[in-house]
Amino acid sequence: MSQSDHSNVATTTTSSCDDDTNGDQIKTEVKLEENVDGVESSEQSLTQQMDEDEQEPEPEIDIVINNVVCSFSVRCHLNLREIALNGINVEFRRENGMVTMKLRRPYTTASIWSSGRITCTGATSEDQAKVAARRYARCLQKLGFSVKFNNFRVVNVLGTCSMPWAIKIVNFSEKYKNEASYEPELHPGVTYKLKFPKATLKIFSTGSITVTASSVANVQAAIEHIFPLVYEFRKKRTILETKEKPRANL
């Protein structure tokens, strides 16, 4: 099998920075490195480095984490109206039944329900998500609620990365009929559902891949899983595709 030669790909996850990039734009930063022991990748690179003597340089792919969704509980009933009247940077739309509170640093949005359940979105790493969540809890504590920081967990992580080549997604989706679905009339990318770790990947013909999974580690594992599969269907980028136009070659 040809793909086994290239099954080890070094990936690094980086957070999309608060200041210079917006989460909605896929930041692609792909380096082809001759040597496997690249400086920054050493910590998170795959352990399986069996074939050092392969003829092609090992690609290193940067995964950008765009959004981390976490949820936690404060174990007390929250009077939403009180939060809406006294809190800062809050919105209370009664029809939604929740208060939306925002932080500037880290830039996140929290949805606060009266049950004391809070979900926080927009963080760019798991650590940032936790910092943000604790800050929301502190905000509520300062408003006079007897909060406890409880049941914190990361619910969902969105990551993006870009392969250094384009992908023949039609052929790809035909080979992996069971896992992949390609409906060009609905979505320009292939949706690939991975069972273990549970992750959903959207694979575009430009080589961009977006992943949603339950943790940053799972995002990385999903990319490492998909890499040899899409490697088989790689092709050189056309001029249109290098210009980062995902829809251009449809």
Partner: protein
């Protein structure tokens, strides 16, 4: 019912003072004064909506805090520049309470 936001303006305050005086002299009942004030709320909302053409623009360097509750936006602005055609004013802190103008 309209917002009673404009009772605390020069026009609203003088109207309330006059009504209080009339009540004191026994010329109108408090109920009537209350009715007048309600009508004032309605009228001034309508008048500001339809009759006022003057425009002031303002620009803040920072939105410090915002809040939205009961259909009312509360905005705290820092370093605000107000600008009419010729006039110009600079204020360090401004609090804006904005209600829905179309609500009846």
């Amino acid at each position: 019912m309209s917002y009673q936001l404009y009772r605390n303006t020069t026009l609203g305050n003088t109207l309330q003072e006059s009504l209080d005086e009339l009540i004191q002299y026994g010329q109108i009942t408090p109920q009537l004064a209350f009715k007048v004030l309600l009508q004032f709320d309605k009228s001034i909302n309508a008048a500001l909506n339809s009759k006022v053409k003057a425009r002031v623009t303002f620009k803040a360097s920072k939105l410090n805090t915002y809040r939205f509750c009961d259909n009312v936006w509360t905005l705290m602005l820092n370093d605000v520049e107000f600008r009419e055609v010729h006039e110009f004013a600079k204020v360090d802190k401004v609090k804006i309470v904005a209600c829905d103008g179309k609500s009846e």
